[in-house]
């Protein structure tokens, strides 16, 4: 079934098919809605598991399970999908996290209660995320990349935090969810507009080298690695693509939509946003920017490294000043993605591998962090850490899971987060040939300092939230510890965090050959 490529398309489109079916289901039939939601997210996981068994790890650089059909002939946009060693772990992560989000939401519908709409949106989001990772045509990539925005916009805008907030520095008050939703949507779209221009520019330029212009990513990579895109053209295109991807990563200073989006979003929205959506940006760098414009990437690499390190330190420092738990975790994402981008900016095998495992680890760890934070804010009806102390006493299981996840997040070796951080520092010490050693080694030192700051705010957060005596305001409340749905969603993540930490081959086994080939082709090894 998979060799003619339908399997991959199924993984991508099953969720949206499920969404359509759910739209046809009557609103009151909660059982059917849940069943459809579960089926149409579990099936992609099963297919992905089957793929794990059938994936050729030795040939990780080639695009496997592919499909290449003509789609829009007038502009030569094709329905070309496939996975290689880099996108495969991301796809698996995407399917798994979507399934776990669906399981979690069975018992945790956000206000206002509308399971049909919410479940449908999760499924649409699932398709969009899965699709972005397998798309091998720029138009197709763009479609999925943008499709991600719509469900998230509605999730934040409808089911988000309704409290009023003051926009800092202006005399404007708005509902948190509305402000955050618009900000997120327009900000991301702003970058994507430039990204589209970049895609079009490359498309037109490709016509000078090929018989017909193409949006096909592998073909463009061939062109790019043979030096087709150079000079000012490449500079402008890379800059345009950079804007689009950097907003999504999020890179400093284009990150400021993230904290608001996370504080406003419902739990599942935050989990999927942090767990997978952020990866679309860095994946874009690895899949599109670097291979198609390698010489330009070389020129931009030091700047990206500097911005990445600023993100690491800045994110950590901003975390220390937070009072809202979810906002703190949001800034921690900025910091972690800084390590990912640092790895990418080294343009080496070690660095890019570090970036991919960093992405997987971040998805698992921060996804779990937002799950727990969401559950806690649901029970305590607050995200203010000053009021949340003593959680370990009130809810031991949840406190333990929060502690475990926070420690994973600060990069403890033996857990998944360590490899991304450590290997990006290794890569930063010896970046690709021709890159400024001074910049990268300084970046490495600051990255190492960043790990200290990360430990700083994580343990501080734990102390404020988990430890100490609980505040008397929770005295009479019956706080229910983690229930079966939550544990079902969370335990697989914890197992994976330990597994990837102890046995990084789970990720590197797939990524290494693909990254080696990518670096060899783009930068001549």
């Amino acid at each position: 079934m998979l060799d003619n490529g339908w399997g991959l398309s199924l993984i991508v489109f099953l969720p949206i098919a499920g969404a359509l079916i759910i739209l046809l289901t009557p609103k009151k039939n909660l059982v059917a809605i849940k069943a459809f939601g579960l089926t149409f997210t579990a099936l992609p996981v099963l297919l992905a598991a089957y793929m794990i068994a059938r994936f050729d790890y030795g040939a990780g650089s080639a695009f496997q399970f592919g499909t290449d059909l003509s789609w829009i002939t007038s502009i030569n946009a094709r329905y070309h999908i496939g996975v290689d060693g880099i996108s495969f772990p991301m796809l698996v992560l995407s399917t798994v996290l979507t399934l776990l989000a669906v399981i979690y939401t069975f018992n945790h519908w956000p206000e206002p209660y509308n399971p049909k709409a919410f479940m449908a949106l999760i499924l649409v989001l699932g398709t969009a995320m899965n699709g972005t990772f397998v798309a091998l045509d720029l138009v197709l990539f763009f479609v999925f990349f943008e499709l991600v925005l719509l469900p998230m916009y509605f999730m934040i805008g409808i089911w988000g935090d309704k409290t009023m907030m003051k926009v800092p520095g202006f005399k404007i008050e708005a509902e948190t969810r509305l402000y955050a939703a618009i900000k997120f949507f327009v900000f991301t779209l702003f970058g994507s507009a430039f990204m589209l221009l970049g895609f079009l520019a490359v498309y037109y330029r490709s016509g000078e080298y090929l018989a017909s212009r193409t949006f096909d990513i592998p073909k463009l990579i061939e062109l790019g690695s043979s030096g087709a895109f150079t000079g000012t053209f490449a500079f402008l295109v890379f800059g345009a693509l950079f804007l689009g991807f950097a907003v999504k990563v999020p890179m400093w200073p284009l990150h400021s939509w993230l904290p608001d989006a996370h504080t406003a979003a419902p739990t599942v929205g935050s989990v999927l946003l942090a767990g997978i959506m952020l990866k679309l940006g860095s994946y874009g760098f690895i899949r599109i920017s670097l291979p198609i414009l390698p010489q330009e990437a070389h020129r931009w690499a030091p700047a990206i490294a500097i911005l990445a390190v600023i993100g690491i330190i800045y994110g950590a420092l901003a975390c220390l000043a937070q009072t809202d738990m979810k906002r703190l975790i949001a800034f921690s994402s900025v910091g972690h993605m800084g390590f990912v981008m640092l790895g990418i900016s080294t343009l080496t095998v070690v660095g890019i591998n570090a970036a991919v495992i960093g992405m997987v680890a971040h998805g698992l760890i921060t996804g779990l962090l937002f799950f727990v934070a969401g559950s806690m804010s649901h029970r305590y009806h607050t995200r203010e850490m000053a009021r949340l102390g003593g959680n370990q006493t009130l809810m031991p299981k949840m406190g333990a899971i929060l502690g475990f996840t926070a420690i994973a997040s600060l990069g403890l070796p033996g857990l998944a987060g360590f490899w991304g951080e450590f290997m990006s520092l290794v890569g930063s010490y010896s970046p690709a040939f021709g890159l400024n050693l001074g910049v990268f080694r300084t970046a490495m030192v600051f990255g190492a300092i960043g790990t200290v700051l990360t430990a700083g705010y994580m343990l501080w957060m734990l102390q404020r939230v988990n430890l100490g005596e609980p505040s008397s305001e929770w005295g009479g409340h019956a706080l229910v510890d983690a229930d079966a749905y939550e544990l079902t969603a969370w335990v697989p993540l914890m197992v994976l965090i330990v597994a990837v930490g102890v046995f990084p081959k789970l990720v590197f086994g797939a990524t290494n050959s693909a990254v080696v080939a990518l670096v060899a082709k783009a930068f001549g090894g």
Binding site: G169, H255, S256, Y314, Y429, A455, L459, G468, F508, T511
Partner: protein, 659 residues
């Protein structure tokens, strides 16, 4: 080359030493609460297994020598290979034995000490995790695994120091330990990266081979790597200025202080330097003077701090820092054997000292010596164990510490660090002084408190007694000129390296050191032996300027808080957050506001009053044109007729003219 075997199946299965504690931890986490002793039995059994296996390996090393290493690759990225593995050689078997023995005895002791504690199962799970991580650290055949174990013990330290986390000071102490170590770990991580990248492999065997053969790849980075790794060691082994976490770590339960912060975890830094010794002895030897300086400073300032403490555990904590300074200084001076030998003896007698302190604290329900006194008769086992350990620490012949400390002093003197040797001798006086003070204030005089003081139960007393005996005999494994076993044990390594001689008996130095120690005891006796109305009054000596400085720990903690921690946590973090909300987000929100203003302008002015104006004007003009034109419709037929005629006439004229 050292004569050794490959250890056979014993070495091939040695990975069990590392894995069994983690299995035990898993069992305790999932099943501990249902067990009769809440999981402690599993923990002690696991440590027993480690102890026995380690003892067997040690005997193997003593009799035949064993050098074995095995690595399993768990991932390959580019040219970097990630491996888990284990080493069995002279150095690691010695460490296995220390970790195994102390763990086994302290875990047993902890059964009694932690009885009735609110979190017994969790305690033993975390403690077992610590033991496993420590074994990961000392069994590592490559720097990456060392870092894994290193951070693991750091985490265990955080968890266990903050065991009583209901009070904020305890979790804060745990955080302080973690942060201080993490900062020093920057050095370790960068040093590992530098070495690993230069040599192309993170394995000790590759790195040390390169170091021993003066390889050209290491020439530019050897000294730098040496410094960086040493910085990492400074954090874990509490060297100045990273020592500040250790005294605060006493907030944890006493078994933790004994095992982790005396015998094992804090020795990880010393172990690292010893493991990387071919590098330090050869290519990085230029920076060794730094190691000696730091070691000497540490041993002196920490010793002085121990004099003014009221909390018994803090006396011992500063004592540990001071003794670590001895070990580090010895290694810096080229005394591979001396430093490791002191690590060995120190593990036994300092571990014991903490156990006895725990025993006392358990009985008196207070850490402070001002609540103790006269406990000699009521707690005999504790007293004699304490005495044995103290004599070892003070380095009185024939107790263990005498031989190791003497070896250090001799090494310092013979390698040209005479100034450091004299500091060490001064340190011997200080050590004797503060231990004498501790002993006399605690065990002599009369007990004026109202707690029901009794000896500890057997489960606590027996380990103490065993260690008491060890404090006497542990030093006999390396008596220069008589039996130099230890020297040979730890020499069994895959690489030989220079400046590795065990010092013989240097009688003048030995006698001087012993003399200073005895003088210290006498001065302490004179000052503290006599009883007084209150315990507090017995603490008689108080030198004006020095004591307040010592009581404030040289104001180092205040300095760190004021210069480093509080600015980062407070103003700097808030400034970043402010910048984010008002400047970066200000730009974003400003863009939104500007967009709305522009929109209002575009709509209101450009569109409504501009374009629409043109459109509307066209309509209006058309309308008024129509308005005017309609006036032609007068309704009068004859006027219409007149216009028609006039038009026709004009037309005719036009035709006539134009044709």
């Amino acid at each position: 080359m050292v004569h050794a075997t490959d250890g056979g199946w014993l070495a091939q299965w040695a990975w069990l030493i590392v894995v069994v504690p983690f299995l035990a931890m898993a069992v305790i986490v999932f099943f501990g609460k249902r067990m009769p002793r809440k999981g402690a039995e599993v923990a002690v059994a696991a440590m027993g297994f480690v102890f026995v296996y380690a003892a067997v390996l040690l005997i193997l090393n003593i009799t035949q020598g064993v050098i074995y290493e095995h690595s399993v690759q768990v991932a390959q990225i580019g040219s970097v290979s990630i491996e888990w593995g284990w080493v069995v050689d002279g150095l690691s078997t010695m460490m296995y034995f220390v970790v195994g023995t102390l763990s086994f005895l302290v875990f047993t002791y902890a059964i009694g000490y932690m009885k009735g504690d609110v979190r017994v199962t969790w305690f033993f799970a975390a403690f077992t995790f610590f033991a496993g991580s420590m074994l990961v650290l000392v069994s590592a055949p490559n720097l990456m695994q060392l870092i894994v174990g290193w951070e693991g013990v750091g985490l265990a330290s955080y968890l266990l120091i903050g065991h009583y986390w209901e009070e904020k000071e305890n979790s804060s102490a745990g955080m302080k330990a973690f942060y201080t170590n993490k900062i020093a770990d920057i050095g370790l991580i960068i040093g590992a990266i530098v070495l690993g990248t230069a040599v192309g492999s993170f394995r000790y065997s590759d790195i040390l081979d390169a170091a021993a053969s003066n390889s050209s790849v290491l020439v530019p980075v050897a000294v730098l790597a040496g410094v960086l790794l040493f910085i990492g060691a400074m954090g874990k082994s509490a060297q100045f200025p990273f020592h500040v976490w250790l005294p605060d770590a006493m907030a944890g339960p006493t078994p933790v202080s004994s095992l982790m912060h005396a015998a094992t975890m804090v020795t990880a830094g010393v172990y690292l330097i010893a493991r990387m010794y071919p590098l330090y002895a050869g290519m990085a030897s230029d920076m060794r003077v730094l190691i000696v300086i730091i070691g000497a400073i540490t041993l002196l300032i920490a010793g002085l701090l121990a004099i003014v403490q009221d909390d018994l555990k803090r006396v011992l904590a500063y004592s540990t820092v001071s003794q670590l300074g001895y070990m580090v200084a010895a290694l810096g001076a080229g005394g591979y054997t001396a430093g490791l030998f002191h690590l060995w003896t120190h593990a036994f007698f300092k571990g014991l000292l903490f156990l006895t302190a725990g025993s006392i604290i358990h009985a008196v329900h207070s850490n402070n010596m001002s609540d103790m006194g006269g406990l000699r008769k009521r707690m005999p086992v504790t007293f004699w164990s304490f005495t044995s350990a103290s004599l070892a620490l003070v380095a009185i012949i024939p107790f263990a510490g005498f031989f190791s400390k003497d070896e250090i002093l001799a090494t310092l003197g013979h390698s040209g660090y005479t100034w450091a040797m004299w500091i060490g001798i001064l340190g011997a006086f200080i050590t004797a002084f503060y231990m004498g003070r501790a002993m006399f204030l605690t065990f002599f005089g009369t007990y004026k408190g109202d707690a029901h003081v009794h000896e500890s139960p057997a489960v606590m007393a027996v380990p103490m007694a065993i260690l008491g005996v060890a404090s006497l005999v542990a030093g006999w494994v390396n008596i220069p000129g008589v039996y130099e076993g230890f020297h040979h044990w730890v020499a069994v390594r895959a690489i030989t390296f220079p400046s590795f001689a065990s010092e013989g008996f240097d009688v003048p130095v030995m006698l001087t050191g012993l003399g200073f120690a005895i003088v210290g005891v006498i001065v302490a006796y004179v000052a503290y032996f006599r009883d007084a109305d209150t315990q507090f009054a017995r603490d008689r000596i108080r030198i004006p300027v020095l004591w307040p400085l010592l009581e404030h720990k040289y104001y180092l903690d205040d300095l760190y808080l004021a210069v480093l921690v509080n600015p980062i946590k407070g103003p700097i973090a808030r400034a970043v957050n402010w910048t984010n909300s008002y400047i970066i987000d200000g730009i974003v929100n400003g863009a939104g506001v500007v967009a709305r203003l522009v929109a209002r302008f575009v709509y209101g002015d450009l569109d409504q009053k501009g374009i629409d104006l043109a459109v509307n004007t066209a309509a209006i003009v058309t309308g008024s044109a129509g308005e005017q034109t309609r006036r032609l419709q007068t309704g009068k037929v004859q006027q219409y007729a007149a216009m028609t005629v006039a038009g026709a006439v004009l037309l005719v004229i036009a035709i006539v003219i134009f044709t």
